[in-house]
């Protein structure tokens, strides 16, 4: 009898301990979950980085018609103006939809070369990871780089320093991916009433002229988009301006349609 009581007491104690442990294992509170999630997230992040190159290689396999092949293998880099082109192409199923878009608001030739961990930098993201523009072809596996920057440089750094930054970045892309074909797009015009002291159409045109010369020097392609969107006075046409009450530089769908069509005809 005494032995039975001892066994009973022992078993009940075991039951209590197990039930406490089981209840604890089910505790889904933030406090207990966070370390687990953090470690899983870190592992996932590392896995993403590790597989990026493989995924990029798969993307470079040519598919579709000859026209679309170019854009299946292209990376399109830019600022907030290019961001609109990205959304337009996704919504309208243009061949450019298959390109990798790396747009970032406020991006310019200069800040694109800041350190990747610079707090003030606005580097674009590729599949959720921050990337440097100079590595854009390597990371995405692209054979064509189409790049439009400058609107965020001209006003801040002036024309000559902006051109120096453009030269430096293009050289870095060429050095990192010597086999890629690089297309540099001109800066586009600004709405008439939105000219600023340093960022205005006169300076944009002067910048574009030097940018065109630079592309010849560096043996890369130049795409002069300015005339596509400018009226007879050299200002952005009203019908192409998506933010007439704000900055006067962003595009409408009609402008993006024209832009996408131009790229399809001129990137080969």
């Amino acid at each position: 009898m005494n032995l039975q009581k001892r066994i009973s007491a022992f078993l009940l104690t075991v039951v209590l301990i197990i039930s406490v442990i089981l209840t604890g294992c089910n505790n889904n509170s933030t406090a207990t979950q966070k370390p687990t999630q953090a470690s899983q997230q870190t592992e996932t992040h590392k896995a993403t980085e590790a597989t990026t190159t493989t995924e990029a290689v798969i993307q470079t396999e040519p598919v579709g018609t000859s026209d679309s092949k170019v854009f299946d293998n292209a990376v399109i880099v830019g600022d907030s103006i290019t961001l609109k082109l990205d959304y337009y192409c996704q919504a309208n199923e243009t061949p450019l939809k298959n390109s990798v878009f790396l747009p970032s608001g406020s991006l310019g030739w200069t800040n694109a070369q800041w350190d990747i961990d610079n707090e003030a930098a606005v580097h674009p993201t590729y599949k959720g990871s921050t990337v440097l523009v100079e590595n854009c072809a390597e990371i995405t596996g692209a054979k064509y780089v189409i790049i439009m920057l400058g609107m965020n440089d001209i006003g801040l750094y002036g024309i000559d320093d902006s051109i120096s930054s453009a030269k430096s970045l293009i050289e870095k892309i060429k050095a990192n991916s010597p086999e890629v074909k690089i297309y540099v797009e001109s800066v586009t015009p600004i709405l008439a009433g939105m000219q600023r002291e340093n960022l205005n159409n006169e300076n944009v045109r002067a910048f574009n002229e030097k940018l065109s010369d630079l592309t010849k020097e560096l043996n890369v392609e130049y795409l002069d988009l300015y005339p596509l969107f400018a009226d007879e006075n050299g200002n952005l046409r009203d019908e192409y301006c998506g933010d007439p009450q704000a900055m006067g530089i962003h595009f409408t769908d009609a402008a993006c349609e024209l832009w996408a069509d131009y790229l399809q005809k001129n990137v080969k």
Binding site: S19, L85, Y87, G105
Partner: protein, 162 residues
Amino acid sequence: MMKKIFLLFAVFVFSASVLCGCGQSNQNNKADAPPLKEVYTIIQNEVTLPDMLELKEKSDLEDYYGIKEDDVTDFYAAIDSSGVGQDEIVFVMAKDDASAGRVEECLNSRYDSKLKQNESYNPKEAAKIKKCSVKKNGNYVSMVISDDAEKIEQIYSNSVFV
């Protein structure tokens, strides 16, 4: 007596194990919660939204946010298509709590990136972003950036959660 004790022990351990398994997701979502696309339709009927680009494929989630397809059970995502306005609505039902954690991390990165990009040249939109946040509730993760974020999140919560 011994047999009774052992039987009691076995039943208790089995019950505790079953309860532990059932509670893994610890969700408070409705059993009959509608697909997230339907939730968005309800929102569209009650809130005026700008023109939005709908992300239709799970692979779009990886392209724009780095969210892996394997982590997602259901989703709805749409982005202000103007490229200037920063409205963005993302609802994700993740496969499990760990997946939801990874989705939350991706959306937080997107949120930080949008805020940083807009702070220097687009202060109105940056202020809008600052008022909003990424939220995780069980296996569900959301990011609602809108002047009507509170109302949108209320509709979403009423549709999905108990």
